[in-house]
């Protein structure tokens, strides 16, 4: 039942950049008190109001899949990770602003996740080099988030932010820079919160609505899409 209306967003990034803290902050609006290593995959759920403030507002559940590990893992670990990349609707790429290598590894992360989805029908990439064309026709919305902003010294901030702006442009994605231990970066109404909301709206749109605004047909009419309102909850 839960698989009918799933909106699945992957959270990818190197070890230790702060994915678990970020996911905790996004889903429970609280700072994670005791971060520890993620083994395998940990999932959390965010309740999101699609098109908030408009008459078409609807509530959806967004699953945030936080996949642990590093790009240089053994190929057995990579094969195991690949099972989580099925039917993904959006990807959040997380990197550490104090560690340049984690930003560079994002290209490999995105290729790993996207290749998995494209393999049956799309182009097979032979080497792992970055190629902008792959991202040009990519249908899955991406978002780049940089963490540990508080640890960047004031006078280095400008150059770091320029670098990350280039990175986000390469992915054709929006970017957010924050500190996961401080909820004020995602306070309601701030520009970060708006970008986040827009990203989730885009993900839901791509999944459930065609370009002209109609809902994707193919499911029996009895079952409703998304989380619906409080009254129509039928989950166990």
């Amino acid at each position: 039942m839960a698989s009918l209306d799933r909106v699945k967003v992957l959270v990818l990034g190197d070890s230790g950049v702060g994915k678990s803290s970020l996911v905790h902050l996004l889903c429970q609006n609280q700072v994670l008190g005791n971060p520890s290593w993620t083994v395998g995959c940990s999932v959390d759920v965010r309740v999101h109001d699609y098109k908030e403030g408009t008459p078409e507002e609807k509530t959806y559940y967004i699953e945030l899949w936080d996949v642990g590990g590093s790009v240089g893992s053994a190929s057995s670990v990579k094969s195991t990770r690949a099972v989580f990349y099925n039917s993904v609707n959006g990807i959040i790429l997380v990197h550490d602003l104090t560690n340049k290598k984690s930003s560079q590894n994002l290209y490999r992360w995105s290729l790993e996740a996207l290749n998995r989805d494209l393999v049956p029908t799309g182009v097979l990439v032979t080497n792992g080099d970055y190629d902008r064309e792959q991202f040009a026709d990519n249908q899955i919305p991406l978002l780049v988030i940089g963490t540990k902003l508080d640890q960047i010294h004031e006078n280095k901030r400008h150059e770091v932010l320029t670098r990350t702006a280039f990175l986000a442009e390469d992915f054709n994605a929006e970017e957010i820079n924050l500190d996961c231990t401080n909820p004020r970066y995602l306070a309601a109404g701030s520009s970060n919160a708006v970008k986040l909301s827009r990203f989730f709206d885009k993900v839901i749109e791509k999944r459930y609505f065609l370009r002209d605004g109609n809902q994707i047909p193919g499911f029996p009419d009895r079952k409703r899409f998304g989380g619906g309102t409080l009254k129509s909850l039928h989950y166990d």
Binding site: M1, A2, S3, R6, D14, S15, C27, Q28, Q30, V39, G40, C41, S42, V43, D44, V45, R46, V47, Y61, E63, S70, V71, G72, A74, S75, S76, V77, S79, T80, V83, F84, T98, N99, K100, K101, S102, N105, G227, L230, L233, Y235, D236
Partner: protein, 433 residues
């Protein structure tokens, strides 16, 4: 004149080793991270350079390159520098970095790291008391004292590692131990994993919706923090939050299960890859090597037991004995001495290297090399032992051999036990539905 030439050769090789250590550090060890403190990298490269130089000096000793007196001088100098780094600088820096990580003591970093270092020195000194290494001729601060202590620690480490390596090496390489894994096994496990994730998700959805309802109704759900919070939550607990804690517990159990399943799947994939690898040509070659090594390792364990039981010290090295026997049996003209020293050298080196594979990044590389010098002496024919004895003074070498044998045996036996248990446990997990 020849002294200058020799010195310049030594110094160039040292610089080469330093560069190599630096590169190794950058490429291998710190591939995915950015180096923030360059001091660490410098110390690592310097230690690496001097250790390699010592190794190089031994090789020169065997091959008879360079002038004898200049070799002696370089030995002494190298040894002094390595001991200096090992006993003074490295522990101090370790202590310094540990202390800087603790936020409370940040202000008086230097003071606390000095204190830590003094404690380390005290224990280091105390280490020497129960062992019979003090000889009445030399004073307290002589080189022999330091070397003997470093030697004890290093020999222990090496024996532990070689014991583990001697057992692990055949286990990893031989395909006899590989379990049979089919694709359906992997698929079944993956399906279980995804089902568990689905269950976790549905529970979390319920929790998220409950939390949102409570928030909208005005009950702010505060997680009980601290002692008073817990006492308060006992008396005033809303029904919603009780439900939440129940579901949270279920979720925790499910998450633990998902982790287990993930690790098992990764394990199965790894085994499958090893099976495929063993069918290739390279795999078969390593398999054969594995058999050969396992025999050598079993022989070593056997010899260690005999040495302890019969209270004997290894005088001749195994390879010389082996070659003597072969030569006498086959009647071939063979320059025993020449080949045996090379082969035994290489074999000892290989065993040490394969046991390094289990070694993580540690800064005790220096200790490792000093003690390997002491032990290589055991494998070298008699003539070449003289110069090492001359330099290192009258250390009780017999003691080291005995100590090595004991620790080697203990480590090998415990790793056999450990691997046996691990091997037995794995197939049972897969049989359960």
């Amino acid at each position: 004149m020849s002294f200058l030439i020799d010195s310049s050769i030594m110094i160039t090789s040292q610089i080469l080793f330093f560069g190599f250590g630096w590169l190794f550090f950058m490429r291998q060890l710190f591939k995915d991270y950015e180096v923030r403190q360059y001091v660490v990298q410098v110390i690592f490269s310097v230690t690496f350079a001097f250790s390699c130089t010592m190794f190089e000096l031994i090789i020169f000793e065997i091959l008879g390159v360079l002038n004898s007196s200049s070799r002696y001088f370089h030995w002494k100098m190298n040894l002094c520098v390595i001991l200096l780094i090992l006993v003074f600088m490295v522990p101090f820096y370790i202590g310094y970095f540990i202390v800087s990580n603790i936020r409370l003591l940040h202000k008086q970093r230097l003071l606390f790291s000095c204190l830590l270092w003094l404690t380390f020195m005290y224990f280091f000194w105390k280490l020497g008391d129960p062992f019979p290494i003090l000889s009445p001729k030399h004073g307290i601060l002589s080189i022999e004292q330091l070397i003997s202590r470093v030697g004890v620690i290093g020999v222990t480490l090496m024996a532990l590692l070689s014991g583990f390596g001697a057992v692990n090496c055949p286990y990893t390489y031989m395909s006899y131990f590989l379990r049979n894994v089919t694709d359906t096994d992997i698929l079944a496990l993956e399906r279980r994993l995804l089902q568990t994730m689905d269950m976790i998700i549905s529970k979390k959805k319920r929790m998220a919706m409950t939390r949102r309802t409570m928030f909208q109704k005005g009950e702010v759900h505060n997680r009980p923090s601290g002692f008073w919070g817990m006492i308060k939550s006992v008396t005033t607990s809303a029904p919603g939050s009780e439900n939440l804690t129940l579901i949270q517990q279920e979720v925790d159990a499910l998450e633990e299960l998902s982790r287990q399943l993930f690790l098992e799947t990764a394990d199965l994939y790894a085994t499958k890859e090893r099976i495929e690898y063993s069918k290739t040509f390279k795999g078969k070659y390593f398999n054969f090597l594995g058999y050969f090594f396992s025999i050598y390792c079993v022989w070593k364990i056997f010899m260690a037991t005999i040495n302890i039981v019969f209270d004997r010290v290894g005088k001749t090295d195994p390879v010389t004995r082996g070659i003597e026997i072969t030569v006498n049996y086959l009647g071939i003209q063979f320059d025993v001495k020449f080949w045996s020293q090379h082969i035994s050298f290489i074999l000892v080196g290989i065993i040490i290297v394969t046991s390094i594979r289990g070694l993580l990044i540690t800064l005790t590389k220096g200790m490792y090399f000093v003690s390997s010098v002491l032990l290589i002496r055991m494998s070298m024919p008699l003539e070449y032992r003289t110069i090492i004895t001359e330099v290192l003074g009258e250390l009780q070498f017999n003691f080291y051999h005995r100590w090595f044998d004991v620790i080697f045996l203990v480590s090998a036996l415990s790793s056999i036990l450990f691997l046996y248990l691990a091997h037995k446990q794995a197939p049972e997990k897969h049989m359960a539905p």
